[in-house]
Protein backbone atom coordinates (compact mmCIF):
# COMPACT_ATOMS: atom_id res chain seq x y z
CA UNK A 1 0.00 0.00 0.00
CA UNK A 2 1.36 3.37 -0.86
CA UNK A 3 1.35 5.43 2.28
CA UNK A 4 0.53 9.05 1.69
CA UNK A 5 2.23 11.18 4.26
CA UNK A 6 -0.50 12.49 6.51
CA UNK A 7 -0.59 16.11 7.48
CA UNK A 8 -2.14 17.73 10.49
CA UNK A 9 -5.26 19.83 10.10
CA UNK A 10 -3.65 22.61 12.13
CA UNK A 11 -0.96 23.00 9.46
CA UNK A 12 -3.44 23.73 6.69
CA UNK A 13 -3.62 27.41 5.80
CA UNK A 14 -6.70 29.60 5.42
CA UNK A 15 -8.30 29.00 2.02
CA UNK A 16 -7.00 25.48 1.77
CA UNK A 17 -9.14 22.40 1.69
CA UNK A 18 -8.36 19.32 3.69
CA UNK A 19 -9.64 15.75 3.67
CA UNK A 20 -9.70 14.00 7.03
CA UNK A 21 -8.38 10.46 7.28
CA UNK A 22 -7.81 9.95 10.95
CA UNK A 23 -8.71 11.47 14.28
CA UNK A 24 -6.21 10.70 17.02
CA UNK A 25 -8.40 11.68 19.92
CA UNK A 26 -10.28 9.47 22.32
CA UNK A 27 -13.37 9.65 24.43
CA UNK A 28 -15.97 12.35 24.53
CA UNK A 29 -13.90 14.84 22.56
CA UNK A 30 -13.71 12.43 19.66
CA UNK A 31 -17.43 11.80 19.89
CA UNK A 32 -18.01 15.52 19.88
CA UNK A 33 -15.84 16.08 16.81
CA UNK A 34 -17.64 13.30 14.96
CA UNK A 35 -20.99 14.80 15.89
CA UNK A 36 -19.90 18.19 14.63
CA UNK A 37 -19.03 16.68 11.26
CA UNK A 38 -15.29 16.03 11.55
CA UNK A 39 -15.63 12.55 10.15
CA UNK A 40 -12.92 10.61 8.32
CA UNK A 41 -13.47 11.05 4.59
CA UNK A 42 -15.07 14.46 4.85
CA UNK A 43 -13.72 17.66 3.44
CA UNK A 44 -12.93 20.69 5.58
CA UNK A 45 -12.17 24.21 4.39
CA UNK A 46 -9.92 26.38 6.51
CA UNK A 47 -11.65 29.73 6.86
CA UNK A 48 -9.49 31.91 9.06
CA UNK A 49 -7.26 31.99 12.07
CA UNK A 50 -8.02 34.20 15.01
CA UNK A 51 -5.63 37.11 15.63
CA UNK A 52 -3.48 35.10 17.98
CA UNK A 53 -3.42 32.09 15.68
CA UNK A 54 -5.62 29.89 17.81
CA UNK A 55 -8.43 28.86 17.48
CA UNK A 56 -9.05 28.46 13.77
CA UNK A 57 -12.41 28.50 12.02
CA UNK A 58 -13.29 25.64 9.70
CA UNK A 59 -16.17 25.02 7.38
CA UNK A 60 -17.46 21.50 7.68
CA UNK A 61 -20.69 20.25 6.11
CA UNK A 62 -22.16 23.74 5.71
CA UNK A 63 -21.37 24.99 9.19
CA UNK A 64 -18.54 27.01 10.62
CA UNK A 65 -16.83 25.43 13.59
CA UNK A 66 -13.75 26.73 15.39
CA UNK A 67 -11.22 24.32 16.81
CA UNK A 68 -8.26 24.87 19.05
CA UNK A 69 -4.81 23.68 18.13
CA UNK A 70 -5.18 21.05 20.79
CA UNK A 71 -7.81 19.33 18.66
CA UNK A 72 -6.77 20.25 15.15
CA UNK A 73 -3.23 19.01 15.71
CA UNK A 74 -4.62 15.56 16.31
CA UNK A 75 -6.72 15.45 13.18
CA UNK A 76 -4.81 13.94 10.28
CA UNK A 77 -5.44 13.86 6.58
CA UNK A 78 -4.24 15.42 3.38
CA UNK A 79 -4.49 18.83 1.84
CA UNK A 80 -6.51 18.92 -1.32
CA UNK A 81 -4.33 20.69 -3.85
CA UNK A 82 -5.86 23.01 -6.35
CA UNK A 83 -5.96 21.56 -9.81
CA UNK A 84 -3.57 24.17 -11.20
CA UNK A 85 -0.54 21.90 -11.38
CA UNK A 86 -2.12 18.58 -12.18
Amino acid sequence: MTQVKLERLCDAQPGERFRITKINIEGTMKRRLLDLGFVPGCEVTVLQKSPLGDPTAYRVSHTTIALRNEESSNIYGERIRDDKQS
Binding site: T28, R31, R32, D35, L36, G37, S61, H62, T63
Partner: protein
Protein backbone atom coordinates in the same frame (compact mmCIF):
# COMPACT_ATOMS: atom_id res chain seq x y z
CA UNK B 1 -64.85 17.85 26.79
CA UNK B 2 -64.70 14.35 28.05
CA UNK B 3 -61.31 13.35 26.81
CA UNK B 4 -58.81 14.49 29.37
CA UNK B 5 -55.92 12.55 28.05
CA UNK B 6 -53.03 14.66 26.99
CA UNK B 7 -50.46 13.51 24.48
CA UNK B 8 -46.83 14.45 24.89
CA UNK B 9 -44.69 15.54 21.97
CA UNK B 10 -40.95 16.15 22.22
CA UNK B 11 -39.17 18.42 19.78
CA UNK B 12 -35.58 17.41 19.11
CA UNK B 13 -33.11 18.77 16.59
CA UNK B 14 -29.79 20.43 15.94
CA UNK B 15 -29.32 24.05 16.97
CA UNK B 16 -30.75 26.53 14.46
CA UNK B 17 -33.07 24.20 12.67
CA UNK B 18 -36.14 26.20 13.59
CA UNK B 19 -37.33 23.99 16.43
CA UNK B 20 -38.42 26.95 18.46
CA UNK B 21 -40.07 28.59 15.45
CA UNK B 22 -42.12 25.44 14.98
CA UNK B 23 -42.79 25.33 18.71
CA UNK B 24 -44.14 28.87 18.62
CA UNK B 25 -46.25 28.18 15.55
CA UNK B 26 -47.83 25.17 17.22
CA UNK B 27 -48.40 26.63 20.64
CA UNK B 28 -48.88 30.33 20.01
CA UNK B 29 -48.76 31.96 23.41
CA UNK B 30 -49.77 28.90 25.34
CA UNK B 31 -46.35 28.13 26.68
CA UNK B 32 -44.08 28.73 29.57
CA UNK B 33 -40.38 28.50 30.04
CA UNK B 34 -38.18 27.70 32.99
CA UNK B 35 -35.21 25.53 33.73
CA UNK B 36 -34.94 21.78 33.77
CA UNK B 37 -34.77 20.70 37.39
CA UNK B 38 -31.25 20.98 38.69
CA UNK B 39 -29.80 22.19 35.41
CA UNK B 40 -29.30 25.55 33.83
CA UNK B 41 -30.84 24.37 30.63
CA UNK B 42 -33.91 26.15 29.41
CA UNK B 43 -37.08 24.14 29.49
CA UNK B 44 -39.94 25.31 27.30
CA UNK B 45 -43.25 23.60 27.23
CA UNK B 46 -46.49 24.54 25.56
CA UNK B 47 -49.91 23.25 24.78
CA UNK B 48 -52.14 23.03 21.77
CA UNK B 49 -55.38 21.44 20.76
CA UNK B 50 -55.91 19.59 17.53
CA UNK B 51 -59.25 17.99 16.66
CA UNK B 52 -60.45 18.37 20.25
CA UNK B 53 -57.45 16.64 21.71
CA UNK B 54 -54.88 18.09 24.04
CA UNK B 55 -51.21 18.00 23.28
CA UNK B 56 -48.29 19.01 25.45
CA UNK B 57 -45.17 19.84 23.55
CA UNK B 58 -41.65 20.07 24.96
CA UNK B 59 -38.95 22.01 23.17
CA UNK B 60 -35.77 20.06 23.93
CA UNK B 61 -32.41 21.84 23.86
CA UNK B 62 -30.86 21.95 20.40
CA UNK B 63 -28.04 19.41 20.14
CA UNK B 64 -25.88 17.81 17.48
CA UNK B 65 -25.89 14.54 19.31
CA UNK B 66 -27.26 12.78 22.36
CA UNK B 67 -24.00 11.17 23.40
CA UNK B 68 -21.45 13.81 24.23
CA UNK B 69 -22.65 14.30 27.75
CA UNK B 70 -23.15 18.01 27.96
CA UNK B 71 -26.00 19.09 30.18
CA UNK B 72 -28.14 19.92 27.14
CA UNK B 73 -27.69 16.54 25.62
CA UNK B 74 -28.38 14.76 28.87
CA UNK B 75 -31.64 16.61 29.22
CA UNK B 76 -32.70 15.73 25.70
CA UNK B 77 -31.64 12.11 26.03
CA UNK B 78 -33.28 11.59 29.41
CA UNK B 79 -36.53 13.07 28.23
CA UNK B 80 -36.75 10.81 25.22
CA UNK B 81 -35.81 7.72 27.21
CA UNK B 82 -37.48 8.26 30.56
CA UNK B 83 -40.46 10.48 29.82
CA UNK B 84 -41.33 8.43 26.74
CA UNK B 85 -43.15 11.05 24.75
CA UNK B 86 -45.97 9.79 22.54
CA UNK B 87 -44.15 11.25 19.58
CA UNK B 88 -40.63 12.58 19.20
CA UNK B 89 -40.48 15.12 16.42
CA UNK B 90 -36.99 15.36 15.00
CA UNK B 91 -36.63 18.69 13.27
CA UNK B 92 -34.01 18.70 10.52
CA UNK B 93 -32.56 21.54 8.52
CA UNK B 94 -33.38 20.57 4.94
CA UNK B 95 -30.39 22.58 3.70
CA UNK B 96 -27.90 20.56 5.77
CA UNK B 97 -29.29 17.06 5.88
CA UNK B 98 -25.93 15.34 6.07
CA UNK B 99 -25.17 17.00 9.37
CA UNK B 100 -28.69 16.74 10.70
CA UNK B 101 -29.33 13.08 10.01
CA UNK B 102 -26.78 12.13 12.67
CA UNK B 103 -29.17 13.14 15.41
CA UNK B 104 -32.15 11.63 13.60
CA UNK B 105 -30.45 8.25 13.50
CA UNK B 106 -29.58 8.49 17.17
CA UNK B 107 -33.19 9.16 18.05
CA UNK B 108 -34.36 6.31 15.82
CA UNK B 109 -32.19 3.95 17.87
CA UNK B 110 -33.99 5.05 21.01
CA UNK B 111 -37.63 4.99 20.03
CA UNK B 112 -39.86 4.04 17.13
CA UNK B 113 -42.39 6.79 17.71
CA UNK B 114 -40.60 9.32 15.61
CA UNK B 115 -41.69 11.77 12.97
CA UNK B 116 -38.98 13.47 10.98
CA UNK B 117 -39.80 17.02 10.17
CA UNK B 118 -37.85 18.64 7.34
CA UNK B 119 -37.84 22.31 8.15
CA UNK B 120 -36.52 25.24 6.13
CA UNK B 121 -37.89 23.73 2.93
CA UNK B 122 -38.23 27.25 1.51
CA UNK B 123 -34.50 27.82 2.05
CA UNK B 124 -33.69 24.48 0.47
CA UNK B 125 -35.79 25.33 -2.56
CA UNK B 126 -33.97 28.63 -2.90
CA UNK B 127 -30.67 26.80 -2.86
CA UNK B 128 -31.89 24.37 -5.49
CA UNK B 129 -31.89 21.40 -3.12
CA UNK B 130 -34.41 18.73 -4.06
CA UNK B 131 -35.25 16.08 -1.50
CA UNK B 132 -37.00 12.83 -2.32
CA UNK B 133 -39.30 12.79 0.70
CA UNK B 134 -40.84 9.38 -0.03
CA UNK B 135 -37.46 7.75 -0.40
CA UNK B 136 -36.07 9.36 2.74
CA UNK B 137 -39.13 8.23 4.65
CA UNK B 138 -38.75 4.70 3.33
CA UNK B 139 -35.08 4.57 4.22
CA UNK B 140 -35.56 5.91 7.73
CA UNK B 141 -38.69 3.83 8.30
CA UNK B 142 -40.66 6.71 9.80
CA UNK B 143 -42.89 9.47 8.38
CA UNK B 144 -41.09 12.47 6.94
CA UNK B 145 -43.01 15.72 6.70
CA UNK B 146 -41.62 18.72 4.81
CA UNK B 147 -42.47 22.06 6.38
CA UNK B 148 -41.51 25.67 6.51
CA UNK B 149 -42.27 26.75 10.06
CA UNK B 150 -41.47 30.36 9.26
CA UNK B 151 -44.10 30.51 6.50
CA UNK B 152 -46.44 28.16 8.33
CA UNK B 153 -46.33 25.71 5.46
CA UNK B 154 -46.90 22.01 5.99
CA UNK B 155 -48.19 22.46 9.54
CA UNK B 156 -51.55 20.83 8.81
CA UNK B 157 -49.95 17.76 7.39
CA UNK B 158 -47.60 17.62 10.35
CA UNK B 159 -50.47 17.85 12.85
CA UNK B 160 -52.37 15.17 11.01
CA UNK B 161 -49.34 12.89 11.04
CA UNK B 162 -48.88 13.50 14.77
CA UNK B 163 -52.54 12.72 15.44
CA UNK B 164 -52.38 9.52 13.44
CA UNK B 165 -49.24 8.41 15.24
CA UNK B 166 -50.58 8.97 18.76
CA UNK B 167 -53.65 6.94 17.79
CA UNK B 168 -51.50 4.10 16.61
CA UNK B 169 -52.50 4.45 12.99
CA UNK B 170 -48.94 4.68 11.77
CA UNK B 171 -46.64 1.70 11.97
CA UNK B 172 -43.00 2.61 11.89
CA UNK B 173 -40.00 0.43 11.44
CA UNK B 174 -36.99 2.61 12.15
CA UNK B 175 -33.95 1.68 10.16
CA UNK B 176 -31.66 -0.45 12.26
CA UNK B 177 -28.03 0.47 12.16
CA UNK B 178 -25.76 -2.54 11.97
CA UNK B 179 -22.36 -2.23 13.51
CA UNK B 180 -19.19 -4.18 12.88
CA UNK B 181 -19.22 -7.86 13.72
CA UNK B 182 -17.29 -7.45 16.95
CA UNK B 183 -19.76 -4.88 18.22
CA UNK B 184 -22.80 -6.86 17.10
CA UNK B 185 -21.46 -9.93 18.91
CA UNK B 186 -21.06 -7.94 22.09
CA UNK B 187 -24.53 -6.49 21.72
CA UNK B 188 -25.94 -9.99 21.32
CA UNK B 189 -24.15 -11.05 24.48
CA UNK B 190 -25.39 -8.07 26.45
CA UNK B 191 -28.98 -8.02 25.25
CA UNK B 192 -30.34 -10.82 27.44
CA UNK B 193 -28.61 -9.33 30.48
CA UNK B 194 -29.96 -5.88 29.79
CA UNK B 195 -33.44 -7.27 29.29
CA UNK B 196 -33.18 -9.20 32.52
CA UNK B 197 -32.28 -6.08 34.46
CA UNK B 198 -34.50 -3.45 32.92
CA UNK B 199 -37.22 -5.49 31.29
CA UNK B 200 -39.06 -3.94 28.40
CA UNK B 201 -39.13 -0.54 29.97
CA UNK B 202 -36.33 0.85 27.84
CA UNK B 203 -34.90 0.03 24.41
CA UNK B 204 -32.53 -2.82 25.26
CA UNK B 205 -30.38 -2.63 22.14
CA UNK B 206 -29.77 1.04 22.68
CA UNK B 207 -28.88 0.52 26.35
CA UNK B 208 -26.48 -2.26 25.36
CA UNK B 209 -24.79 0.11 22.94
CA UNK B 210 -24.45 2.79 25.57
CA UNK B 211 -22.92 0.27 27.97
CA UNK B 212 -20.41 -0.76 25.33
CA UNK B 213 -19.56 2.87 24.88
CA UNK B 214 -18.86 3.11 28.62
CA UNK B 215 -21.57 5.73 29.05
CA UNK B 216 -21.53 6.23 32.80
CA UNK B 217 -23.78 9.26 32.61
CA UNK B 218 -26.61 7.04 31.38
CA UNK B 219 -26.03 4.57 34.21
CA UNK B 220 -26.33 7.37 36.73
CA UNK B 221 -29.49 8.58 35.07
CA UNK B 222 -30.92 5.07 35.17
CA UNK B 223 -30.04 4.72 38.82
CA UNK B 224 -31.70 7.95 39.77
CA UNK B 225 -34.93 6.90 38.10
CA UNK B 226 -37.57 6.10 40.68
CA UNK B 227 -37.93 2.51 39.57
CA UNK B 228 -37.93 -0.88 41.09
CA UNK B 229 -35.81 -2.13 38.28
CA UNK B 230 -32.26 -1.53 39.32
CA UNK B 231 -31.83 -3.74 42.32
CA UNK B 232 -28.19 -4.55 42.00
CA UNK B 233 -28.70 -4.23 38.32
CA UNK B 234 -26.56 -1.22 37.84
CA UNK B 235 -23.71 -3.23 39.19
CA UNK B 236 -24.25 -5.72 36.51
CA UNK B 237 -24.23 -2.98 33.93
CA UNK B 238 -21.00 -1.49 35.22
CA UNK B 239 -19.21 -4.76 34.82
CA UNK B 240 -20.28 -5.05 31.27
CA UNK B 241 -19.32 -1.52 30.42
CA UNK B 242 -15.78 -2.14 31.56
CA UNK B 243 -15.41 -4.26 28.47
CA UNK B 244 -14.76 -1.27 26.38
CA UNK B 245 -14.13 -1.75 22.69
Amino acid sequence: MTNNHEYTIALAGNPNTGKSTLFNVLTGLRQHTGNWPGKTVVHAEGFFTYKDEQYRIIDLPGTYSLYSNSADEEVARDFIIFAKPDVTLVVLDATALERNLNLALQVLEMTDRVIVCLNLMDEAKKKGIIIDIAKLSKKLGVPVVPISARNKEGIDELLETIARMVHGEIQTKPTKISYSRTIEEKIAKLLPLVKEVIGDEYPARWIALRLLDGDTSLLHALQSQPHHLLKGGAHYGCHCSAKSI
